[in-house]
Symmetry: C2
């Protein structure tokens, strides 16, 4: 997917009618919409994310049950990144060949139970191709606060991440190179992080309630996703630290992606820490500060501009 | 997609928690859900339908703009088949190769404008395969009446269809065999019916308000879709007529599919006719009557059991 498609995305935005006040459209983790004719003042969250065989998963490295888990979890993560609670999912499968799908549905149901959401419909189609595609759409709702977009960070805000990064990429490294030097328990945790990522729903709600000004989930890697937040908010970010998961490497933490920790900015760090403590959650890690930018937002670590592209597997709308 | 997958679908139903009163889950044109924590008594409708290259469209016979139109229209049709109004769509593209997508988005935007709905998000992924997949999820809402499922038809109800059938299949026939004997204006209309099907939103609302007991859209063909309605409602259907679109053949009307007319049962045919007239809509065509069944529902036409499978391109959840 190249520049032509990015132009096409800009084209579709220009073709569509503008959204109403308080609504969020294409370009965030999830959309936030008012239901026309409805009687609810709170917006409905809508997320959609696809997993494509050979791009997002490899059935030699993950089971179909893992894929079922992950297909829902990555969408739950998008709802979490708005500060929302996931509700109802539609699951569409495009199946290229005879695959025993029972395992997929088992993993999907486990994921639905874990996140307290329901699969209420979807579609199932054969495909003449050879690539399994799973596409999930998920609703969600914010309770008592507005959805947190990517666009509200301000200079001076503190930047947090909900946990150390790089575990999924390191897990993939061990799966691809089974002879890599591994530490029994640690390696298993890393592999589990890759196969069955966890969405941070309670953390997202705590951050939103603590006044988070902008939030995104780490799906494409810290550098890429922090870049999205910085561009949307028109700020730079001065990083003080990159927390690396045990057994992972710094470059995996910066560029690895698929960690699904939440990255957020907030004006009052003490309020954030208190909210997480009160909710019984692990304290979020303070990793930097938003700064003024004149021109393109720049993310720096120890005075150097952060590079390290993520998987770039997805271009989020 | 064979028996194993049908079993898997039954498996996922058994794995999932039961729905609440008034909710509709897997197995209808769209789901109807209450928003947990919300303040709206009316359910939200959720539909998802995918179009797969080589199964649902052929880029030698339709343009990418046609595919964009149709991808949304078939989902609008699912919302219409519940008696709902379409609201907000998520559009996910899995793109196997360099395709200029601007045309797709133009067709999508035209379709969104036609049906008064919005594209508010989605996903875009590359694919290592060679098959373009478009997967749409769409919300909807019923205003002042309950959603109409497939399951409420009762013996004695009159069966209606909102228009003559077979146009899409006939259009496809002319596209595939351009030397087939064609009548200029008629052939163009048939081809347009195939490339740019119309969803019957106003008709669905009129039918629901007139007390329709069961409704489904004709996506897989009259025989197949009437069969779905009959099975879900546990009735047989005695057909008196199959209305055939001008230029189409009887077997295309029975088995062709993709007409997206609405098929519904209603206890009071005079009320239905009055509701359609009042809304300024073409009168729906009375095609038969629901009858008691002891055992498997049977659909008969002139005393013969109706056969003629549809495209069977999709297995609806």
């Amino acid at each position: 997917v190249g520049d032509g498609e990015l132009e096409a995305i800009r084209a579709i935005r220009s073709l569509l009618p503008p959204l109403g006040p308080g609504e969020i459209g294409i370009g965030d983790d999830a959309a936030a919409v008012r239901i026309r004719g409805g009687h609810d003042d709170d917006p409905l969250l809508l997320a959609a994310d696809a997993l494509v065989e050979g791009v997002h998963f490899d059935l030699g490295l993950s089971t179909l049950a893992d894929v079922g888990w992950k297909a829902l979890a990555v969408n739950v993560s998008d709802i979490a990144a708005m500060g929302g609670t996931p509700l109802d999912a539609l699951v569409t499968l495009v199946v290229p060949r005879a695959l025993p799908l029972a395992g997929f549905y088992e993993g999907l149901a486990e994921s639905a139970e874990e996140y307290g959401c329901r699969v209420v419909g979807g579609d199932l189609s054969t495909s003449p191709g050879d690539t399994l595609c799973v596409s999930v759409a998920l609703t969600g709702r914010c309770d008592g606060h507005q959805p947190v977009s990517r666009a509200g960070a301000r200079p001076g805000d503190t930047v947090f991440v909900t946990g150390p990064l790089g575990a999924s990429a390191a897990g993939l490294r061990f799966l691809i190179s089974p002879l890599a030097k591994s530490v029994p328990d640690v390696t298993e945790r890393l592999i589990a992080a890759h196969r069955r990522p966890r969405a941070r729903v309670r953390e997202g709600i705590a951050a939103a309630r603590a006044g988070a000004s902008a939030m995104i989930d780490v799906s494409d890697g810290l550098a890429t996703d922090l870049g999205h937040l910085a561009v949307a908010s028109n700020v730079g970010v001065r990083l003080s630290e990159v927390p690396v998961a045990e057994g992972a490497e710094l470059e995996e933490a910066i560029g690895g992606g698929e960690d699904y920790e939440l990255l957020f900015a907030a004006p009052a760090p003490a309020v954030v820490r208190a909210a997480f403590a009160e909710a019984g959650l692990r304290a979020p890690i303070e990793i930097g500060t938003c700064v003024e930018t004149d021109g393109a937002p720049v993310i720096t670590l120890d005075g150097h501009e952060l590079s390290g592209k993520g998987y770039e597997h997805l271009i989020m709308w």
